[in-house]
Symmetry: C2
Subunit: 254 residues, 2 copies
């Protein structure tokens, strides 16, 4: 079984939370893959440099300067900090963008009502390359920067990356996918962090959507979770990063 | 024969020069390894963020904020731009810091007369890991950020990285090492770029040093070049990035 874990922004911004998570991640058995989001550092840096930060439906509009900032922060600072900390816990990690080893090929999102800029939608995951790394005992750590094979880097949604990698790796082994974020799971009452739904199927999810209980930020994550589950990923879980590897916590998608 | 090429700062700052170099590099036969320096982007960014840039004998003093900037720029922006451009030229590159795959282990430089801050001196190159990548047809692209295996990233001299990798890879194959920079080679007359010395041995180098013809910035590069040559690296050349793969150009160390 390949364990694939996605860790989101808020858990990355908090040093103590990140440290706790990485220590726990280093202890779960191999083969495993980590995918990380961006956190607030890119926004902070763009503000410091007096560049604009623009978001639409919780997704960043990525102009050329934003892409440089995202590449620096995601592929550089965050990715290498995570890798060096995992190494300290004897987890032989290797940090990757989608350009490295031609691992994740994406296509610039075509302009419809919104121009997202240098944002890529994933077209292909190079499963053989990833499987080769796993078979050498390495733990790939992906940031959500991909490329188009024509020399262009593209900013990509980290939840989509986690789903697409999971679905591709399914051809080599069974896959267990965990989305970690700052809440205890999918909540039936958004103001009560203890109201997480232990098991969520599509029917209940549709009801949550209709009743607008799932906030805007949750919908892409849940769409990705169901997409993975519907494409033969064995287990898909959404939970708090501090309970990522505790069976009794979080929302399981089924 | 493994071809190892180091490309320095000035060639990275100039987009057209970098493009020309990467196109040429993509065409030389495998196995090959690229090591890149930093360029002026880190200094530019530190200035923009109102951080201090401090140098001693041409080497950066790396405080914690500087290390974050260097990690962002070298391991993030520059490394991923190079990798994505090589991919566009059908060269299957993989960008690495020393933390990735535990490839380069260094030790924080001890404080003597100068405190260099978070700067590492290389202790060990993981040749087996690099050789595994080469045998898969991949082209490693190293930035000069390494780690201490205890969770600390360290800023490292890219010329030293090139020499140490070359010496280590010598146990797998013959090695050809080329240092590229913004001059045509080691010059007998620093104001005449056509006065490059085709072949340089230690005796002539010592004379150049005594007569202060080699400027301060050249000495660490030449020390690294002779160090590699004296440790069984077959060919060591210093030349302009635009003539990196032209035999009749540059200074050969012998």
């Amino acid at each position: 079984m390949i364990r694939i874990v996605k860790i989101g922004g808020n858990s990355i911004d908090d040093d103590a939370q990140l440290e706790h998570f990485l220590k726990a991640f280093s202890k779960i058995p191999k083969p495993k893959i980590l995918i990380h989001g961006g956190g607030k550092m890119a926004t902070y840096l763009a503000n410091k440099l007096a560049l604009k930060n623009e978001f639409k439906d919780g997704r960043r509009i990525t102009d050329a300067a934003s892409l440089d900032i995202c590449t620096m922060v995601y592929a550089g600072l965050i990715n290498k900090k995570i890798v060096s900390k995992l190494q300290a816990y004897s987890c032989n990690a290797i940090g990757l963008s989608g350009a490295d080893g031609n691992s994740i090929i994406s296509k610039k999102r075509s302009v419809k009502s919104i121009d997202f800029g240098w944002v890529g939608d994933i077209e292909q995951v190079n499963g053989k390359f990833i499987q080769d790394l796993l078979s050498k005992g390495l733990t790939p750590v992906f940031c959500a920067i991909t490329h188009d094979e024509k020399g262009q880097l593209l900013n990509t949604n980290a939840d989509s990356l986690a789903s697409e990698i999971s679905i591709t790796m399914r051809q080599y082994d069974t896959v267990n996918l965990t989305f970690c974020f700052e809440k205890n799971g999918v909540l039936s009452n958004p103001s009560d962090d203890n109201s997480w739904i232990p098991q969520l199927n599509n029917t209940v999810y549709t009801e949550l959507k209709v009743n607008e209980i799932s906030t805007a930020g949750m919908i892409p994550k849940l769409e990705n979770a169901f997409y993975a589950k519907q494409n033969n990923v064995e287990r898909v879980k959404i939970c708090h990063s501090k309970n990522a590897f505790v069976d009794s916590h979080g929302t399981e998608i089924y």
